[in-house]
C-alpha cells in the first residue's frame, strides 16, 4: 500500500504525462484543452465514484439475470398449470392452488441436540411427501399414480425455480437499496452457477411434465436393466426388489418403482433385504449419478466404497447403520454428470454408459464374492420414465 503523499505524486505524474501526450498529438489548441478537461473529469470521477460505478455495473448484471430468472419461473409455472389441467382434468382452475403450493416450505429439525435428528428429519420428510401427494390429488383428481408422481416432481421443480428467483431478487433489491458493493458482489460472483442450475430446473420441469427419464435416473436404469424380465415385489415405500441370478450369485436388485417420478426409500429397502436374509449378504453395491468436476467427461464411471446416495442423508444413514450391524462391505459405482444433466432429460452419453456400469459391477462381484453368495445391488435415483 502506498502512502497519501506517494499517491498524490503518482497521480500528478500520470496527469502530467497525459497532458504532454495530448499536447504532442494536437498541439496547443482548444481540442487539447477539451481532452485534458475530459480526462481530468473522468480521472476524478473514477477516484471518488469507482466503487459506486462498479456497484451499478454489477446491479445491471444481476438485473439482467433476474429478468431471465423471472421469465424461466413464469414459464415453469405456466407449464405446471397447463400440465395439471391437461392430465388432472380438475373441476376448478388450479392456478391459485399452484401459486400457494409454490410458496411451501419445510423447516428442518433443530440440531442443537443432534441425537435422534435423523428420525426427526425422516418424519418431517414423510409429512412433506404425504402433504405433496395430497395436494397433487386435489389439483389433479384424474391423474393415475404415475402421472401424480410426475406432477409432484414438476411442482417441485417449479418450486425450486420460484425459490431461486426470490433469493436473487432479494439480494438485487437489497443491493440497490444499500448500494453496497459487498451485498451485490456476493450474488454476482455465484450468478453463473445459479443461472446454470435454474436452466437445469427449467429443463427438468419439462422432463417431469412429459415423464422423460432424467440423468439422475442412471442408477435406477442400471437396476432396471438387471431386473427386467424378473419378478419384482414391493420392498419399501415406492421401492421394488427382484431376485436376479448374477454370475453364479443371487443378486437382490433394488430400484425406486417406476415409471413415475420417484426416488423411493432405498435405505429402508436395503435394510429390509438384509434383514430378510438375516444379514447373510456378502456385499452391497450401490449405483448412483455423481456430480462431475469440470474437465471430467459426461457419463464417465468411477468406482469406490461407501453408500453412494444423495438427498437429505436419511437413507445413507440407514444403509450405513445396517451394513455396520452385519459388517457387510459396501461398494459404489458412480456415473459422472453435472447438475444440468442430472435433472434434465437423460443424455445419450449417460445412457450409453449403463452397459459399462453393469460390466464394472460384474468385475467387483467376481473379484470380491464367491459363487453362491447373496449380494444387494441398489440402483439409486429418480425412476421417472424408467419401468422395471
Amino acid at each position: 500500500m502506498c502512502s497519501e503523499g506517494e499517491f498524490v505524486s503518482i497521480t500528478a505524474a500520470i496527469l502530467g504525462l497525459h497532458s504532454r501526450i495530448i499536447q504532442a498529438q494536437f498541439g496547443d489548441t482548444s481540442v487539447t484543452w477539451i481532452l485534458n478537461v475530459l480526462f481530468y473529469v473522468v480521472f476524478i470521477v473514477f477516484i471518488f465514484y469507482g466503487q459506486r460505478l462498479q456497484t451499478y455495473v454489477m446491479i445491471r448484471e444481476v438485473e439482467g439475470s433476474l429478468y431471465k430468472l423471472k421469465h424461466i419461473k413464469e414459464e415453469g409455472r405456466k407449464i405446471t398449470i397447463e400440465t395439471i389441467k391437461e392430465i388432472g382434468k380438475p373441476q376448478t382452475d388450479p392456478t391459485a392452488r399452484v401459486d400457494r403450493f409454490l410458496e411451501y416450505f419445510m423447516i428442518s429439525p433443530q440440531s442443537l441436540d443432534p441425537a435422534g435428528i435423523v428420525w426427526k428429519l425422516e418424519h418431517i420428510l414423510d409429512v412433506r411427501d404425504t402433504r405433496f401427494k395430497d395436494e397433487v390429488k386435489f389439483m389433479a383428481p384424474a391423474a393415475d399414480e404415475t402421472q401424480a408422481n410426475n406432477l409432484e416432481n414438476t411442482l417441485e421443480a417449479a418450486m425450486a425455480l420460484n425459490f431461486i428467483y426470490k433469493v436473487i431478487r432479494h439480494f438485487y433489491l437489497l443491493g440497490k437499496k444499500t448500494l453496497s458493493l459487498y451485498v451485490i458482489m456476493q450474488i454476482q460472483m455465484i450468478l453463473p452457477m445459479i443461472m446454470k442450475e435454474a436452466e437445469a430446473y427449467a429443463n427438468a420441469l419439462k422432463a417431469f411434465a412429459y415423464g422423460q427419464p432424467i440423468g439422475d435416473g442412471a442408477g435406477a436404469l442400471v437396476a432396471a436393466k438387471l431386473m427386467h424380465g424378473q419378478e419384482t415385489r414391493k420392498i419399501a415405500k415406492d421401492c421394488v426388489v427382484a431376485s436376479v441370478p448374477f454370475e453364479g450369485r443371487t443378486a437382490f436388485v433394488i430400484k425406486a418403482e417406476g415409471p413415475g417420478g420417484n426416488v423411493g426409500k432405498p435405505g429402508d429397502a436395503v435394510k429390509a433385504v438384509i434383514e430378510e436374509n438375516e444379514g447373510k449378504i456378502a456385499m452391497v453395491v450401490m449405483i448412483d449419478a455423481a456430480l462431475k468436476l469440470e474437465g471430467e467427461g459426461l457419463g464417465e464411471l468411477a468406482e469406490g466404497v461407501g453408500a453412494a446416495i444423495g438427498g437429505p442423508g436419511v437413507d445413507q444413514y440407514k444403509i450405513e447403520d445396517e451394513i455396520l450391524k452385519y459388517h457387510i462391505p459396501v461398494n459404489a459405482v458412480v456415473i459422472k454428470e453435472d447438475i444440468g444433466d442430472a435433472v434434465s432429460p437423460m443424455r445419450k452419453e449417460v445412457f450409453d454408459s449403463i452397459d459399462g456400469v453393469i460390466e464394472r459391477i460384474k468385475e467387483v462381484v467376481l473379484e470380491r464374492t464367491k459363487e453362491g453368495d447373496k449380494i444387494v445391488i441398489a440402483g439409486v435415483g429418480n425412476s421417472i420414465g424408467i419401468g422395471q
Binding site: G64, K68, N203, A224, P259, I386
Partner: protein, 137 residues
C-alpha cells in the same frame, strides 16, 4: 414432444429507449460526415466532431447489441428427445420422437415384421456440442 422452444418474454426495453439510440446513432453519423466535409477548412472543429461521432457510434452500437443479446438469451431451447423401440424377436429397431406416456421397458405397438410386441429400450436426448477448446490437462 411438441414444444421445442419457449415463447419469448415481453421485451423489457422500451421503444423510447430504442428510438433514442437510433437518434443518437443518426446524429453520430451526421457528425462524422460533417467532420469529413470540413476537415480541409477547419482541422480543429473537424477533430472534435470526429471524436464525438466515433464515440456516439460506438456507444449506440454497444447499447443496441446489449439489448439484442439480452432478448436472444431469454429463449429456452429444449433439445429433442428420442425413443428407441426394439423387437426382441426379430431385432428390428425403430427410432422416433418421444411421446408422452413412453417409458423405458414399456411394451409398445406390435412389430411390423413379426407381429411381436415391441419394447421401448432407450429414451435419451442427443446434444451436439460445439467443438471444445482443446485443453492439455
Amino acid at each position: 414432444m411438441t414444444e421445442t422452444q419457449a415463447s419469448g418474454p415481453t421485451p423489457r426495453i422500451s421503444s423510447s429507449v430504442i428510438i433514442a439510440v437510433f437518434v443518437a446513432l443518426a446524429l453520430s453519423f451526421a457528425a462524422l460526415i460533417y467532420a469529413l466535409s470540413i476537415l480541409d477548412q477547419d482541422y480543429e472543429a473537424a477533430s472534435i466532431f470526429l471524436i464525438m461521432g466515433f464515440l456516439g457510434v460506438a456507444l449506440s452500437t454497444y447499447v443496441l447489441f446489449q439489448t439484442r443479446r439480452r432478448l436472444s438469451k431469454l429463449k429456452i431451447a429444449v433439445p429433442p428427445v428420442t425413443t428407441t423401440i426394439e423387437c426382441k424377436k426379430c431385432g428390428s429397431k425403430n427410432v422416433r420422437e418421444f411421446q408422452r406416456g413412453d417409458y423405458i421397458f414399456k411394451e409398445g405397438e406390435p412389430c411390423q415384421k413379426c407381429n411381436e410386441k415391441m419394447l421401448i429400450t432407450a429414451i435419451y436426448r442427443e446434444v451436439k456440442e460445439k467443438e471444445r477448446e482443446k485443453i492439455s490437462f
